[in-house]
């Protein structure tokens, strides 16, 4: 244990995802030795992100306005929605330049063991977006691991029940067990092109 402020910082850093006690300590001491201006910029970025960034009211991607850049772009195809788990997946798919439709960010995957069910994700909001019949294809791009697969199973069953014309899933070729964000552009682009129809 360190004194006051140092320990507070280590504790706060240690609560971040993927940061263990040792990393927290290393980052804390790095900051202690860093140029005050650098630390100031970091502190500013942290407060700004909370003050300025929110979630798009339509797709729940991160956004600085009520609607994100993609949802407010009229050139984007309104008939296709790509469903992803997290905002970082939108970034990964945008990099491939394969998709010209819009997104829907669920906010995670269904994970009963962590107490996360469909009602904890933006599933109801997805149904609302589909209600007027404009959307004819929903591409499910949840992570290629089993929680992502189970989430896709849940969604495809539900989307069929509400009568969406085409429900597709990114093609295999994406390594099972991995995170979507780690897929390189070529692989992800190919998975998009070869997306398969989920059978009833």
């Amino acid at each position: 244990m360190y004194e006051g402020a140092v320990q507070d910082l280590i504790d706060e850093l240690g609560r971040l995802p993927g940061v263990g006690p040792k990393s927290a300590q290393r980052i804390a001491f790095h900051l202690l030795q860093a140029d005050p201006a650098d630390v100031e910029r970091l502190a500013h970025a942290l407060t700004e992100v909370k003050a300025r960034v929110r979630f798009c009211e339509v797709c729940f991607n991160v956004s600085e306005a009520e609607r994100c850049r993609i949802c407010s772009d009229d050139r984007r195809d309104r008939t296709a929605i790509c469903v992803v788990e997290e905002p970082k997946d939108v970034v990964a798919i945008e990099r491939t330049r394969e998709f010209r439709g819009r997104y829907h960010v669920l906010g995670g995957a269904i994970s009963p063991i962590d107490g996360i069910g469909p009602q904890d994700l933006k599933v109801r909001e997805l149904l609302t977006r589909l209600a007027d019949g404009t959307v004819t294809e929903v591409i499910i791009a949840t992570d290629p691991n089993l929680e992502g697969e189970a989430t896709a199973s849940y969604l495809s069953r539900m989307l069929r029940d509400v009568g969406v014309q085409r429900v597709t899933r990114l093609a295999s070729g994406l390594p099972v067990g991995g995170d979507l964000e780690y897929a390189d552009e070529v692989t992800l682009g190919r998975a998009f092109e070869g997306r398969r129809l989920l059978d009833a």
Binding site: G18, P112, D114, G117, L146, G177, D179, D184
Partner: protein, 241 residues
């Protein structure tokens, strides 16, 4: 034993750092183990798909100071992958895996639990029976192995031969009119027969049972499990019945 190898079933996984995963497995010989799959969330990993919940694997590990590290893994049966394609079965399977995690201790061999778990996952993957029935059969039998066998015929308190109508979770199952504590439930006789069949692994009458009794039976099974485990099984609430 710095290096060991065993047959195992993945119970659950946690993300660790950038691309690693902590994997909890129940192994056949050694009991429950926790190991690190290094880099498995990266796309080039050969291991990722095999270290997922419900997968039946042959795994080799290097024993570390804190956690063991997976050095090799092969799939024996991809039960988890098959089950994940059916949402209802998946929710049942996750409840099975969480219960197994709760009923076993690290590095304590639990062969009976292992065999019961593999049987339940295989049945779900192969759709031998309704997933909800497989789940309840698993829960009842896993509790029985753990030493809390419920009684569905003879009185749980005095052993008076049944059948009896009253059921009391804390008393351990059905109770005779003499032992019957206040607040006992009175489930349908068919429900008690269904639960007895599930506990015994007698599938013909269980498969023929109707939804109403399955539903009541699931409720009693869940109440029984809840009573014996300090904290509830989280994923049980999310099972689609």
């Amino acid at each position: 034993m710095p290096l060991y190898r065993d047959e195992a079933i993945v119970l659950r996984t946690h993300k660790l750092g950038e691309a690693d995963r902590i994997v909890t497995v129940l192994s056949r010989r050694l009991g429950k183990l926790r190991m690190v799959g290094k880099g498995v969330r990266r796309t080039k990993s050969r291991f990722g798909a095999r270290l997922e919940p419900g997968m039946h694997i042959d795994v080799q590990c290097y024993e570390g100071r804190n956690l063991d590290t997976v050095t090799q893994v092969e799939t024996l049966d991809s039960w988890g992958e098959t089950i994940s394609r059916d949402y209802r079965s998946w929710t049942s399977a996750v409840a099975v895996l969480e219960t197994c995690d709760r009923l076993t201790e690290e590095r304590e061999p639990a062969l009976q639990q292992y065999l019961l778990l593999s049987g339940a996952l295989r049945a779900m993957a192969e759709r031998d029976h309704d997933a909800g029935l497989v789940l309840d059969a698993y829960l009842l039998r896993a509790m029985a192995i753990g030493g809390y066998a419920p009684s569905f015929h003879d009185c749980a308190k005095c052993g008076a031969p049944g059948p009896h109508r009253a059921f009391h979770v804390a008393a351990g199952g059905v109770v005779c009119p003499v032992c019957r504590p206040p607040g006992s439930a009175a489930p349908a006789p068919e429900t008690l027969r269904l639960l007895a069949a599930l506990l015994a692994g007698d599938w013909a009458p269980a498969d023929a049972s109707d939804d109403r009794h399955r539903h009541e039976g699931s409720g009693l099974t869940a109440a029984f499990l809840q009573w014996h485990l300090e904290r509830g099984i989280r994923s049980l609430r999310m099972v689609e019945r």
